[in-house]
């Protein structure tokens, strides 16, 4: 199995706070890799270091054999690593359809293309592609609605569609089901299983253990900036260190 993403010895501090300490991680092609851990463990920070939002103090991030450190976010996107954010990052003033059309255009047009004399309404291919992506997440019926006006759970599904339409090599999902009702969570799980069959590699950060154990091939546990355990779902379930640091707490809740 080839390695899509390799994180080696990554450290990140914020002022005095050690957010990440010597994090090592290998993501295999086609796998769904879950990262779990309590609030403030550094999960989002780790993703931020991958997509160019933050630059780690030391260590390396290698994606498809290319060094990603210091690259611009849009370059990393075109390299094939796409992030879905924890707090929905959408275009609230635009329609759902336009929200999905824009990443489709990014995929086609590259980082910059000056095409002021093309008609958007003639872009039937992009339009159909966007409608299919919305249908995948069950939002196609509302494609004309303003993205700012939909529920938080729907915004997350919209953002998922925005990520999926770019057909990335590696999709980074930061709590994709937070704020969703049970029914929608199950739908999202089904969708994520479907795209796994298409061979898309994913990193998924999640607090919902139901989601984690239904999707993950491999789980890494992050606590206070350190990876304390890494293994198959069964190994993690039975790991006493993990039980103590994380699972125990959630099961009691």
């Amino acid at each position: 199995m080839s390695i899509v993403l390799e994180i080696k010895g990554v450290n990140k501090t914020f002022g005095g706070l050690k957010a990440l300490t010597d994090v090592n991680l290998k993501i295999e092609e086609g796998k769904t890799h879950a990262i779990i851990g309590p609030n403030g463990a550094g999960k989002s920070t780790l993703l931020n270091c991958c997509i160019g939002k933050l630059i780690p103090d030391s260590g390396s991030v290698t994606f498809n054999g290319q060094d990603m450190i210091g690259k611009q976010p849009y370059e990393i996107n075109h390299a094939g690593m796409v992030r879905v954010f924890q707090t929905p990052e959408i275009f609230p003033e635009l329609s759902l359809l336009e929200n999905v059309v824009i990443p489709a255009l990014a995929k086609r047009d590259g980082i910059f293309k000056f095409n002021p004399f093309k008609m958007l309404s003639n872009e039937t291919e992009i339009h159909d592609q966007a409608m299919r992506a919305l249908a995948d997440v069950g939002l196609d019926k509302f494609h004309q609605k303003n993205a700012g006006s939909i529920s938080r759970g729907d915004k997350r599904r919209l953002e998922l569609a925005m990520g999926l339409i770019q057909n990335p090599t590696l999709l980074l999902l930061d709590e994709p089901t937070a704020g969703m009702a049970r029914h929608d969570t199950n739908q999202t799980i089904d969708l994520l299983k479907k795209i796994k069959d298409r061979g898309m590699t994913k990193i998924i950060i999640e607090h919902d253990m139901h989601v984690v154990f239904s999707l993950a091939d491999h789980i890494s546990v992050l606590a206070q900036g350190c990876i304390i355990a890494s293994g198959t779902p069964d190994e993690i379930r039975n790991n006493p260190k993990v039980k103590e640091a994380y699972l125990g707490e959630t099961e009691d809740e």
Binding site: P73, E89, N115, P116, K118, M119, E123
Partner: protein, 387 residues
Amino acid sequence: MIKSILEKFSLEKNSSVMLVFAAVVLSAPIWLTPFGANYPDLLQKFAIFGIFAIGFNILFGLTGYLSFGHAVFLGVGSYTAVWVFKLFTMNVLPAVMLSVAIAAVFALLIGYISLRRSGIYFSILTLALAQMSYNLAYSVLTPITSGETGLQLSSEDPRYIDSLLGAGVQEGLPATNFFGMSMSGYSGFYFCAIFLILAFYISLKIFRSPYGLKLIAIKSNQKRMLYTGFNTRPYLLSAFVISGMFAGLAGGLMAATDPLAGAERMQWTASGEVVLMTILGGSGTLIGPLLGVGVIKYFENIFSALNETSLREIFNFLPDVVADFLVSITHVFVGEGWHLTLGILFMLVVIFLPGGIMQGVGIFTRYYKKKMTELKSERSVEKGKSQ
């Protein structure tokens, strides 16, 4: 026949929009008559400032970047045009084209520097660079700009092309022309109107293009655009340059209709004016900026010309006491006081219609449509009853 034409007509289509727009612009001398605004000078101003505002709206309306220095490009356009008149020819076409080109160069420079920042810092950078240009035009650059007196034609100007073509020595200063067509009066207006229609067409194309959508998306969430795979800097810079070119065109046309250029054209008040026009009409809409231009230029030229005597004439159908009373109140708002009226109007619009006049239009049409469908359904209910 008419029905099939009407069915084909849809504002979704660019051709339909352009047809309506061109008809409205070209017939302006007729439909502006009842408003007393049909004289060529004012019509030319409407068209020229219309171009200025349309261009400004491409930057501000789409990307949300508020430039406070766009009058620089207006000034640069005017200076360029006058220099072309002085050096080469009184034909306005080369002058106008060169105005656009030189303004583009300035916009590229100023845009490149200012776009290193966003939000209020961008606005302040544009303002600072514009004031710098204004002061340079007044002082150091006097050999090019004639400083305080302003750049004017003179009988010693070489006008190489014109003299080559054998335009003999004339009495007094030559007049600007478009292959012989005079640039004053209505022909001047129609010349500007053609450019206004062209400018509107370009703006319409941009608004409805993928490029335009990306600009709007930058306004909505620039950070998101970066993570979606767009380098936003060249998008912003290209929009900045396009809007600077529109301003240069407007400046060139100003000089074409009245061949002089002064530094005051670059002053921050002039930059502020186009901001007001765009916001008043509705930034980010196609027509809004033009409505803003219409209102502000109308107030500036018509309201400022009213005085007590003209007010008395308006009210003379009323009893003397009432008329006196009304005149004593209203005369504050006209003549010199037109700024007061405009200020109040601007305040009211911004408070109650933050989307500008176009927001009001939108609310009205939605209300009207709702009423119409209600009426229709009532009628069909009545029909059902009578059957």
